[in-house]
């Protein structure tokens, strides 16, 4: 009767429906995204940090003015994802890219779909493709993905 060789497994889901307050600095960034633009913040020595932080990560100084950047930028680094996983923002092959927006001094992580890694290169110019205005909520996914400017790498 006792089959001690039984092996069990079960699907579990752990879920927390968090909503968090974002504060004035990140709030300015998300408000910008919802309104279809990208903003950064000025840190020590006037450098522009995107996405904005409450303090300069190098010096700890408080950051000051919110400034518009981009919308175009340059790819500073990237990583190719041939087989996206279920929670990835795109379900077709894509590159994680670090983008330094025009007018910014730091890079911002997002995605760029492409048919292969040979379409992605450090130094290429890209621009964000925003979701339609009615669908934007103030979230990083208000930028659907990036596209190459002027015909790719």
């Amino acid at each position: 009767m006792a089959d001690e060789g039984v092996h069990y497994s079960a699907d579990h889901v752990l879920e927390y429906p968090y909503v968090r307050s974002v504060g004035p600095t990140v709030g300015a960034f998300l408000t910008g995204l919802r309104d279809g633009k990208v903003v950064g913040i000025r840190g020590t020595g006037g450098r522009v940090i995107v996405p904005p932080t409450e303090y300069d990560p190098d010096t700890g100084d408080e950051t000051t003015d919110v400034v518009d950047v981009g919308p175009e930028g340059v790819v500073t680094s990237w990583s190719w994802v041939p087989r996206p996983r279920p929670k990835h923002p795109l379900q077709t092959p894509f590159a994680w890219i670090l983008v330094r927006f025009d007018g910014a001094d730091t890079s911002f992580l997002h995605v760029m779909p492409a048919s292969g890694p040979d379409e992605v290169a450090t130094g290429m110019r890209v621009r964000p493709e925003f979701a339609p205005e009615a669908e934007r909520v103030g979230h990083v996914n208000d930028i659907l993905h990036f596209v190459a400017v002027g015909g790719g790498a």
Partner: protein
């Protein structure tokens, strides 16, 4: 322009497959058959209920499988009076540590069929299982414990298990 963004939905979700492993699998296989399984330590001879497969005192595998009794003793308890989110049992109800006969480790179970005011240490109880066709490899196979009518156990018999 509309109002500034002040809040952000940040749901967290983890989908995963839980594999209980050999030792807990044996316990669950027992629950699936309506039987409590104990695992005996070869050194200290203690019988662990819901064993994780090793003796915490001796650090050796608890290889010997023991079928335990359907009856046990309430060693200690808590009467739940405070409503909370996700509560599924009518208040007040009793949560008790139950030491099954033949076991050396108690576990927590729900007590029903007794007024909350009559619960006591030493109460003798028996497990009430779901109908046979609803049994599964889960503690949900045990509906609850209820008094089995025997005289209360003497404190001496369970004082080591509090």
């Amino acid at each position: 322009m509309s109002e500034p963004v002040t809040m952000m939905a940040a749901p967290m979700r983890l989908d995963y497959v839980f594999t209980p492993g050999v030792a807990q699998g044996k316990n669950m296989h027992g629950l699936e058959r309506g039987v409590f399984i104990g695992q005996r330590c070869p050194k200290c001879k203690k019988v662990y209920t819901l064993s994780r497969g090793s003796c915490p005192t001796d650090g050796v595998p608890t290889d010997e499988i023991v079928e335990l009794s359907n009856t046990g003793t309430v060693t200690t308890y808590c009467v739940v009076n405070v409503p909370f989110a996700g509560q599924s049992i009518e208040l007040p109800y009793i949560c008790a540590q139950i030491l099954l006969d033949g076991a050396n480790l108690s576990f927590m179970g729900l007590i029903q069929e007794i007024p909350a005011g009559e619960i006591r240490m030493g109460l003798r109880v028996e497990a009430v299982w779901v109908p046979p066709d609803e049994l599964g490899p889960t503690m949900a196979s045990v509906k609850y414990f209820r008094p089995n009518g025997e005289p209360d156990a003497a404190f001496e018999t369970y004082k080591e298990y509090l």
